[in-house]
Symmetry: C2
């Protein structure tokens, strides 16, 4: 249930010999809507995922690659930057760029965040929800502060048990400002991801969030909803989400069963 993570083998001290360009079979479509550097990044990612490029392999030099693809070196570098950020490639000045030894599933990546539905699907589990409460109410002080609303403002509360393959996985409380999203109440959120609805029906894309993670012991009621024992430990994740313009759109408190869920991060410095 926990994400499957395997650390790859240690790097061979003398690096693998460079991969030939001809083994990579990449090309760019200058007429496509996706930027060239994204196309290249995607193809490199694919080659790493499907095993054409393996742990420790040295990819062709930036000049060689950009020549072969007939793009400028800066564009090629933008593509490589993406994979370096994701932890898939490692640049080594003077030596080359190698495929990183870290194999991780996607949600492990620091970059990006997902809704519960997206995360479960990416792990091959079927998400569903049991709605406990879905209504508007007056925000309490803490929620009002999180969403930067005046005291007494209305919010919509969505409280759900989140299931993965029909097993309770998390207990989630989402708050969104009523004024901006009052129409939300007419959608069926037992079947649809909240983020989906916000994006498709309200043209609001969750873009940035801040999360706090702590460990707590479940009280009797929470334990019952999650079908575990009272006092069992759980991860409490508090998330505040903003749209592309930086406006606060959602505050969320989620309790994850500790026997079913852990978070994985990749970090760099």
């Amino acid at each position: 249930m926990a994400p499957i993570v395997s650390a790859g083998p240690a790097p061979r001290a003398p690096l693998n010999s460079p991969i030939g360009i001809d083994q990579l079979s990449m090309r760019v479509n200058r007429r496509a809507d996706t930027p060239i550097f994204k196309q290249i990044a995607e193809q490199l990612r694919e080659q790493i995922q499907n095993g054409t490029l393996r742990f420790g392999d040295v990819i062709p030099g930036e000049r060689e690659l950009s020549d072969a693809l007939a793009v400028s070196r800066m564009t090629l570098r933008a593509a490589i930057d993406e994979l370096v950020d994701e932890g898939l490639l490692l640049r080594q000045r003077g030596r080359g760029t190698v495929v990183s030894h870290v194999r991780i599933n996607k949600q492990a990546q620091v970059i990006g965040f997902m809704s519960f539905s997206e995360e479960m699907r990416s792990r091959g589990l079927e998400p569903s929800s049991r709605i406990l409460s879905f209504k508007s109410e007056v925000a309490d002080a803490a929620v009002a502060a999180q969403l930067d609303l005046p005291l007494g403002a209305q919010v919509i509360l969505l409280k759900r048990v989140r299931l993965a393959n029909l097993e309770p996985m998390a207990l989630e409380r989402c708050y969104v400002p009523y004024e901006r999203f009052s129409g939300l109440l007419k959608f069926d959120l037992s079947r649809r991801s909240l983020y989906d609805v916000l994006e498709q029906e309200f043209d609001t894309r969750p873009t940035m969030c801040q999360e706090t993670v702590e460990a707590i012991a479940l009280d009797a009621r929470e334990a019952r909803d999650l079908q575990v024992k009272r006092g069992d430990p759980a991860l409490l994740v508090t998330r505040v989400t903003r749209d592309a313009r930086g406006s606060l759109i959602e505050a969320e408190q989620t309790l994850y069963r500790s026997d079913r869920y852990r978070m994985v991060f990749l970090r760099q410095r």
Copy 2:
């Protein structure tokens, strides 16, 4: 004790008027060792931190700024990219680049990770350690797998209670490969950060790590070391660290008191 985080005010719907360049007083030193784009990023960061640039302010356009600084636009963009990654700036195509509404202390940033010592100092707390064990031993199967060592390989185990302002905060078990770091045993790690010693004495810089975070209940012994009650929840952070070349250098399991510690992340997508 928990990191202090405050969400800023919501953005004014019509953006603040653009900040004049003359109010920013920035300049670059082309002879310095730090790259120009890092210098610019640092100065912009400074202006945000000291309040010259405030939430919602629109910074001057990229062309205007790069002209004023006599750098190319691509260089200026590299600087802005850094702050966007850190969540301090938000780009809005067609509108401008605004100062983000998120105010967060540094350790909240997704990018980068810190040793316990670094983290506590950045929160204004004085880190110290009580060493419970510091010796070489045969790696158990789990640790050998984490460090990608053969079964039966030796590791150095460093087990410490980590204190902040003399209060127990975390219980840490670090494993490093004996073969590469046997000299480590002669250093005094009750006063020095492990990462410091690795960097200064072994020329090994922790560069990338993978972390797993879960919630557990403390057993009797762990609770005693942390001076809390048996069964209390704690965050268990498992970290595997690599150096700049991608070699595994450390595996670490840390239990954090849940009443004293929470993790904060900033994420984007």
